[in-house]
C-alpha cells in the first residue's frame, strides 16, 4: 500500500488551520513571557482577592501583581481601594504582614513614621518643618493609587490607569458572574497555593479544557461516562471569556454523597459549572461550594497558583462543615484531582522545554459540545490580540502579528 501523503516532518507545523495548533514556544520563551506580563497582567484586569477578605474598615491584604506589591484596603465608606505598598517618602513597605487592620488612623510607615489615611492621602510627615523650604507638600506626597473595581465581591486591580472599565472587559461574563456570586453574600473559608513547574497557560488550559477530564478517575466515573454529559455547549464571550453549560456530576458513582441540599445560587442539584475569565481566572461551582483559581506567573516555567474556597456567609456550623467536607472531597491540597492536574502540566512543560514537543493540537471540533477545543482557540485568538503574537507562529514580526491579530475575524459569541 502506498501512502497518499508524505509523512509529517515533526519540526514543521501540523497540517491544520493555523487556529488549530499552538507553537509551544509560547510556554518557554522569556520574551513572550515578558510581553504577557506587560500586556495581560500589568495592562489588563487582575483578580486579586474577594471582598470578604476585607470585612471591616481598615482591613487590608497585601498581594503581588507582576512583582509589584499591592495593598488592598477597605475605606471608611466601605469602598475598596488599592495602592502600591510603598511609602511615598523613601519607598519602605507600608505594611509587612499579608493581612491585618490599619485602624482608623490609616497607614503608618515603620521607617520614618509618615502616615496616610485610607484614601491614600498623606496625613503625617514627621517633623514637617524640614519640608517647608522645597516641599513636598502633603497633597503631593500621597500613596500611588492602583485602579480598583469590584464586581459580585471579586476585587480586580489594574496597573494601567486608562484600562477599560471592568464591566466592559467582562462583557457577557459579567451577568454570569453576577448570577452566581452577586445574588448572595459569600466568604472565603479556604486558601492555599502551590508553585507548579509549568507555564501559567498550561495551568489555564488544564483548568478550562473539558477534554482533560479523562485524566481524572473521579471525573470519568462521575461525569464523562455518564449519560447526558455531552448534551451541552460552550458559551464563548468577547475578550476570551468562556463557560461550558452546567453538567450533572454523579457523586454516588464513587461513593460520595449527592449534593441536593444547601445549593449555591443558580445551581441545580449536583450541578457543576465553570466560568473562565480571561486570562487566568477560573470560577468553578460544584453544587454547594465555590472555588476561585488565580495565577501569578513567576517565570516562563514556574507559576504560583492560588485557590480559594467560598461558602455562603451566615451558614450554620453544620452546613459550613458540610461545605468544607464537600470542598475537600475533590479540591484543596489533599483533593483527589490536584496532584493529577499538576502531574499533567509539569509533564508538558518538561517536553516543551527539552524540545521533544514543538506543536500542540487544539483541533477538536464538536459543534461547541464540551470536548470541542473552541474555547482554547478563542482564548489564543484573544491572547494574540492582546500580546501581539500569533500563538501558532511566534516568529512572525511582532508588529505584523499584532496587526493581523487585531484584524482577524473574532470567534462567534454564545
Amino acid at each position: 500500500m502506498t501512502e497518499k501523503t508524505a509523512p509529517r516532518r515533526w519540526e514543521d507545523p501540523p497540517r491544520l488551520p493555523t487556529t488549530h495548533y499552538v507553537d509551544q514556544r509560547i510556554y518557554t520563551d522569556p520574551a513572550i513571557f515578558a510581553e504577557e506580563q506587560a500586556q495581560l497582567f500589568a495592562g489588563g484586569w487582575k483578580l486579586v482577592c474577594h471582598e470578604s477578605e476585607l470585612p471591616q474598615t481598615g482591613d487590608y491584604r497585601v498581594l503581588d501583581v507582576v512583582g509589584r506589591p499591592i495593598v488592598v484596603v477597605r475605606g471608611e465608606g466601605g469602598e475598596v481601594r488599592s495602592f502600591y505598598n510603598a511609602c511615598a517618602h523613601r519607598g519602605a513597605e507600608l505594611v509587612r504582614d499579608l493581612r491585618g487592620n490599619l485602624g482608623r488612623g490609616g497607614f503608618r510607615c515603620f521607617y520614618h513614621l509618615w502616615g496616610y489615611d485610607l484614601k491614600g492621602c498623606n496625613i503625617r510627615m514627621t517633623r514637617p518643618e524640614g519640608y517647608e523650604r522645597f516641599g513636598p507638600k502633603a497633597d503631593d506626597a500621597g500613596l500611588r493609587r492602583v485602579r480598583t473595581e469590584c464586581v459580585a465581591g471579586l476585587v480586580f486591580v489594574s496597573l494601567r490607569e486608562d484600562v477599560e472599565p471592568l464591566a466592559t472587559y467582562l462583557d457577557g461574563m459579567l451577568s454570569r458572574i453576577d448570577k452566581h456570586l452577586g445574588s448572595a453574600e459569600y466568604e472565603v473559608f479556604h486558601h492555599h497555593s502551590a508553585v507548579i513547574n509549568a507555564n501559567w497557560k498550561f495551568w489555564n488550559e488544564n483548568n478550562t479544557e473539558v477534554y482533560h477530564e479523562f485524566l481524572h478517575i473521579l471525573n470519568r466515573k462521575t461525569m464523562v461516562l455518564q449519560p447526558g454529559y455531552h448534551d451541552r455547549r460552550w458559551a464563548l464571550y468577547k475578550n476570551g471569556h468562556a463557560s461550558p453549560e452546567e453538567v450533572y456530576s454523579h457523586y454516588e458513582a464513587v461513593g460520595l454523597e449527592a449534593r441536593a441540599d444547601n445549593l449555591l445560587p443558580g445551581m441545580r442539584p449536583s450541578g457543576l459549572l465553570a466560568l473562565g475569565v480571561f486570562p487566568d481566572v477560573l470560577i468553578i461551582i460544584r453544587g454547594t461550594v465555590l472555588r476561585i483559581d488565580t495565577m501569578r506567573p513567576l517565570s516562563p516555567d514556574r507559576t504560583l497558583v492560588e485557590w480559594r474556597g467560598l461558602a455562603l456567609k451566615g451558614d450554620s456550623a453544620e452546613v459550613r462543615d458540610m461545605r468544607v467536607r464537600q470542598h475537600n472531597q475533590v479540591w484543596g491540597p489533599a483533593g483527589r484531582n490536584l496532584a493529577e492536574d499538576i502531574a499533567a502540566v509539569e509533564s508538558q512543560q518538561r517536553n516543551v522545554a527539552n524540545g521533544a514537543s514543538r506543536y500542540a493540537i487544539i483541533a477538536r471540533e464538536e459543534n461547541l459540545r464540551p470536548h470541542d477545543d473552541c474555547n482554547l482557540r478563542a482564548y489564543y485568538q484573544e491572547w494574540g490580540r492582546r500580546v501581539g503574537r500569533w500563538a501558532h507562529d511566534v516568529d512572525l514580526p511582532r508588529a505584523k502579528a499584532a496587526a493581523e491579530a487585531e484584524s482577524a475575524p473574532r470567534v462567534a459569541h454564545g
Binding site: E53, V188, H192, P333, R336, A339, I342
Partner: protein
Amino acid sequence: MAERHPLEERELVRALVSRSAQLLDHGRWDEFVDLFARDGTYLLQARSDEIGKDMTWLEASRAELSTMFKEYPQHVRDKAHRTHLVTPEDIEISPGAAKALSTFAVFRTDLAGQSALYAVGHYEDELVVEDGAWKLRCRKARVTTRQFTTPTPMPL
C-alpha cells in the same frame, strides 16, 4: 489489660507515632489504617495567614482512609518518594487515654534521587486503648507549610 508502668506506656505511644511515619513512608496503607481506633479520625489542618482562618484540608474516618488508600492506585500520582522525620516531644498518659505532640518534617525525593523539604508541621495525637493496644482516636496533622510543590492527596 495488665497494668503497665507509665514509662512503658509512654514508650508504646512513642513507638506508635514513629511507626505511623514508617508505614506512610513504605506505603503500608492497611497497617497505617490499623493504627486508628474504630472511631478514629485523621485531620489535615493549617492556618492561613492570607485569610486569617484555620482550615481543615482533609477529614477522614478510618473507613474513609481505607477507601482512599484503595482508590490511590487508580489515580495518576506523584512518583516521588516521601520520607518522614518525626520527633515525639510531649506525651501525657492518663488511664486508658494519651496525648502526644510531635514535630514532623516530610522530604520528597524525586525519581532522579534529588531530595527537598516538602512540609513541616506537628502531629497532635489523641490515643485510646482498644483491645489492649494503643490506637489513634484522632490524628491532627497541623502543617506549617502552606505552599506545596507537587501536592499529594495522601495523609502526611
